[in-house]
Symmetry: C2
Subunit: 403 residues, 2 copies
């Protein structure tokens, strides 16, 4: 039996990892903008990336490096303030040079370095500035600097996101840590964000990749802020074996659970920190004819502007939930459908209970909201997706992002 | 050769049509809330309705009536202030009673009356109030009352929408008129709104239906405000033959063109009057591998919150257009893609031209904005979709719709 306990810290909670987060001048406001996460020994490495057909330069480079090493890595370098996306051959060269600079500072191969960027699309990343930043970050590496690293990857995120858990197995303990940034352009497939997960378990690269995919499925891939998938989405996992605990097929599910625990905390924090968000919304769809139907309906509800604005206004407008469930393309039976807000059933078997609206309104006044829709098909498939409300602040942030 | 001229008026511009728009107390603020459009003789009738699996009661009833009569109608009755959606068997009975009441007042069969509702979902429509309203509207019918009818179908629409055109053929002239309401929940398939088109041409029912579908395809079905399809979307066409001009296969395309002309004016007015809208955005996608790819990309761009907020803020953020084009699922080649804002090419063959951003910004400062994305596949398929910007006002309207 394994137990999983939440502990303090972040990406450097697992043994053998150090980090740094410094300000090197990519952001014009003097904030931290370059993070480095380093394993003191070669680690198994895995990555999941945006499905965009316009992937940013660092995505192209990181994919190539993981292919070349068959899943071995030493470090992840991440800058904020510039996405290095839609920057052509120049941008690709810049991303490559960033890995070369980091490799030189760390004494490893460039292909063992993964790279990610986040910020404005279509602006050239100054490679001299980034290169100097990498040298400074390498000099600042410390196990205590996980919070600085988490801060250095933020863009419009209102707060940094870190988490760590300790896993106790009969044969020993290992640790999983992580950090992530949101905050707009958040829609899974892949969950439009950057994250790094670290562990001191020893995991074969192929197993690590499988575990990362499985852990992301119900966490980073089950959140949405605005239905957008970006050019830069990347989630990395590094497993360096420093704990001495070896993961095999028998203990695989424990690793998935531990990765998912950290990923879920980070994912929900991404939603809580969504641009202009004031509420975390959990959308549960039940009674679906298939898993795909459940997921499609949950995503459609979570991305509906009318649902998100109604929640923002504290309006128990179950009609909008029915409208989205009915138009989303999933099988739906109005006469047997059910809408529940919090614990309050507002629509059951085709009949509204508007006298309960005040109770539902009280639930919506809170910071965490649960919307449940049974599609009424009699099927047993379910899905849960998390999103945030849509506020005037979101519009303000995104209308003025570059100005 | 046919000529099509825009003329004044609306649904009563064609001969043989009268209309009324009165206030009967469905809306609590005393505004007009019941419209009646009547042909003085039996007319060919056609309808296109929401694809929602939770259609509102009036949609169910109107579909059944068109089926029962094989496309013959005398009148359309529309109320605003209550959608009569998700109202179960009671709501269905109310919608049926509305057609019976109208038929009694007009001296026709109930099945010759079509019905539509718009407003809040899940609230019972008071059938006594609606019934009294129908009697009052029937007494107020007049050819001069087209503007009152267009006003009576409004919900959050900032202005009423009417249009009419006169078609001159070698053998005579006929007229097409129309009215529509938006204003949130606007996303085609079907274009989530209510509209009535009238003509005094004589058109066989099957031909009228075909013409309506074809005319809507590039108009009502090519607009989106918020990506929502409602429970109540309905577009009706009535053709009463009062002009003496008979439409057959040879003159069919002229009828489509005339219907599309009125529908396009109404559709663009729906977008201009979108909730909180300050700008009309035309999204043109070219260079797509297929018509479906073109349409998917145009819709994705038009529905992107990041694109809509950037336009709202006057930010020539071409990177967001590339990001959406790259993630939407249509074939896309970044190295040959092209983004044009107004007449200004900002991204060509993988290379940004940010020195032109100020010119593009000037175009975005206007009330009508054109965004053009070539997907770079070398294909020749194109699509145009119209949408509006997303403002803080949209959030305000929809957060407070019921309160």
């Amino acid at each position: 039996m394994a137990t999983i306990d939440v502990i303090g810290g972040g990406i450097t909670a697992p043994r053998g990892f150090t980090a740094a987060g410094i300000a090197c001048g990519i952001k014009k406001n003097g904030r931290r903008d370059l993070a480095l996460v380093v394993s003191d020994r070669p680690a198994a490495a895995a990555g999941i990336f945006t499905v965009s057909l316009a992937p940013a330069a660092p995505v192209v480079v990181s994919r190539a490096h993981l292919d070349a090493t068959a899943g071995v890595g030493r470090a992840v370098v991440i800058n904020s303030g510039c996405a290095n996306a839609c920057t052509g051959a120049e941008g690709l060269e810049t991303a490559r040079l960033m890995t070369i600079e980091a490799a030189r500072a760390l004494g490893c191969d460039a292909e063992e370095v993964l790279v990610a960027s986040t910020g404005v699309i279509g602006v050239a990343l100054d490679r001299l500035v980034a290169g100097r930043g990498i040298i400074a970050a390498a000099a600042a590496l410390d196990r205590r600097h996980h919070a600085e690293a988490a801060e250095a990857i933020m863009t419009t995120d209102p707060f940094p996101k870190s988490d760590a858990v300790r896993v106790t197995l009969p044969g020993g303990t290992f640790t999983v840590g992580g950090m992530a940034k949101g905050s707009g352009m958040i829609e899974p497939m892949m969950a439009t964000m950057l994250a790094v997960l670290t562990t001191d378990a020893a995991v074969p690269p192929a197993l690590l990749r499988r575990a990362l995919v499985e852990a992301c499925d119900t966490t980073f891939n089950a959140i949405t802020v605005d239905g957008e998938c970006s050019t830069n989405d990347s989630v990395f996992a590094l497993a360096n074996g420093a704990s001495g605990v070896e993961i095999d097929e028998r203990s695989y599910s424990v690793l998935v659970e531990a990765l998912a625990s950290v990923a879920r905390t980070l994912a929900l924090d991404i939603v809580r920190g969504g641009e202009g968000a004031t509420k975390l919304i959990e959308v549960r769809v039940t009674g679906a004819a298939s898993g795909e139907d459940a997921r499609r309906a949950a995503k459609a509800i979570a991305n509906s502007l009318l649902v998100k604005t109604a929640v923002h206004g504290g309006d128990p407008n179950w009609g909008r939930l029915v409208a989205v469930a009915g138009r989303c393309g999933s099988a739906f039976d109005l006469a047997r459908a059910r809408v529940t807000i919090g614990e309050v059933e507002l629509f059951v078997d085709g009949r509204p209970f508007d006298e309960r609206a005040d109770d539902a309104g009280r639930h919506l006044a809170g910071r965490e909201v649960v919307l449940q829709v049974d599609l009424g098909t009699g099927g047993s498939s379910e899905a849960t997706v998390w999103t945030c409300d849509l506020s005037a602040e979101y519009v303000k942030i995104n209308a003025e992002y570059r100005t």
